[in-house]
Amino acid sequence: MSSGKPVTLRQMRSGDKGKIIEVQGGPGMVRRLDALGIRPGKKIIKISSMLMRGPITVQVGHTRVAIGFGMANRIIVETE
């Protein structure tokens, strides 16, 4: 069971829930993520990850989003 320590989205286990605490990236990346509802303070659930450093599928609000591996590595989440 996870205990509230911050991990990257990539490190999260599939099925785990958490809250986004930071998005580490340039303004372009932050804006793109924000437009999809991915921003600090939002609850996020990790659905699955693809083999070989493929995209990671998450659920934010009622939306499913696929995020590239590199970006997912820079989204910091506090797990429940």
Partner: protein, 574 residues
Amino acid sequence: MQKSDIKKILLIGNPNVGKSVVFSRLTGVHVIASNYPGTTVGYSRGFLKFSGETAEVIDVPGTYTLEPTSEAEKVALQMLESGDIIINVVDATNLERNLNLTLQLLEKGIPMLVALNIWDDALHQGIQIDLKLLEERLGVPVIPTVAISGQGIKELVASIPLARAIQFNPQTHDQRWATIGNIIEHVQQVTHRHHTWRERLGDASVQPLTGGLIAAAVLAGTFFIIRFIGESLISYALDPLFSILWTPVVLKLSEILGGSGFFHATLIGNITAGELNYVEAFGLLTTGLYVPLAMVLPYIVSFYLLLGLLEDTGYLPRLAILMDTIMHRLGLHGYAIIPSLLGFGCNVPAVLSTRILESRRERFIAATLISIAIPCAALQAMIFGLVGERGFQYVVIVYGTLFIVWVVLGLIINRFARGFSPELLIEIPQYRLPPWRMVFKKLWMRVYGFLKEAMPIILGAVLVINLLYFAGVFDAIADFTAPVITGLLGLPKEAVTALVIGFLRKDVALGMLAPLSLTSGQLVVGSVVLAMFFPCIATFVVLLRELGIIGMLKATGIMITTALLVGGLLNLIL
């Protein structure tokens, strides 16, 4: 600026909210799919009659925000300037995120109303929305709709005169989200719900193992269904139509024209011993009609039917996720699978749609790979027709070779091209069963587009070929290029005419190989080289526009070299 009398209604909303379905419900038969001038982002225009007036309805490209993060969003922002009324299509199952755009639109001060779409799914998911309160907070009419079934559309149209432009003060980014958070708190309640089977299937489609299996099944199924529909249309409808109704007419005409002479050659072509072979005759009324209508059209119909279904059920983004890692090895983004799939219909919209990719480098790689290795439906129809006759294994060799070229060339270009390929970031829509009405409307638009654009070119190509034959131009070219054609590729020198005509139309060009009595191996080499060698004129024009002159020259160089190399290799092997 002069304002026309017809009011412009803009349908604006996030991607995947069902805007196109709302659009299709509002407009009649006369729909025009266009490209926004200066860019290649598509939008549709149609007309709506309500309370005695006619208004123009425009389906604006999906956008998440008015602070543009992509080409499509820049276009949407520009289009706002010429709108009279806005219908903001909102996804009721994603209210919070959708309201971001809604608030930004309200700040613009254009008369507006909100269509709260996918209302049925919201109810199923246990989402309850207080409509009256939402209307109050937003200050504009909010109409619940279920566009795919048509519910709420009448009310929506009736509410258009009630669209209001309100005073909404501009807010900062953070203020806006705070406002939205506040609205949601009061307006929306979510009760517990179970996972529907659709959601389970949706998630399974992106897990590595189940997703891979599903993808394999979908792609294989799609391929076989396309073949089945295409071949059925040919065998049961179009071939009989031509042989029973048209052949007697042509033979009679042949008699009247005396069996030879300029008009006979142009209109009817070569008939041997009273037997009409539509592919080899090469007259305007024979090959000119048969190739597009009885060989290509059936596959255009079946391909676009399946593509439309893949698009509208929401499967393609999931395919993009599965393919993303592999595509990155080729220098592409998972989403590039979509232009690539489009290429199997026609390379022109495929190359145009590479605009959805964000880096120049990706666009170059995707466009080049599409023009080299992805055969359009017209060419494929001919491959099935002509090469298929010799045995299905030869068709497999042709496709297999093209696929290997796609992968290997992608790997190579990825190694050497400068620039970057950005990461995947896409929303995954829920699986939906698209309404048949919409599927067929889309299909009709694409088929009609094909007929309108391709027919004249095909007829023109047949005419030009006949004229050039008469003038002896082909003989001259054939002699000149013989060393390469015969030496390297193992084809008779006359085959070069097919390559030349390939510049006009690839389907007609492949047909030119038919009367040359080639061995099956030679036919395979001919088909592969033809597919890869040089784009048809339509694709050429679009490539030039998208890649610029230098890009085009690079791409062309790659095409010609690769085509000859691969052709030569195949010649050795087969």
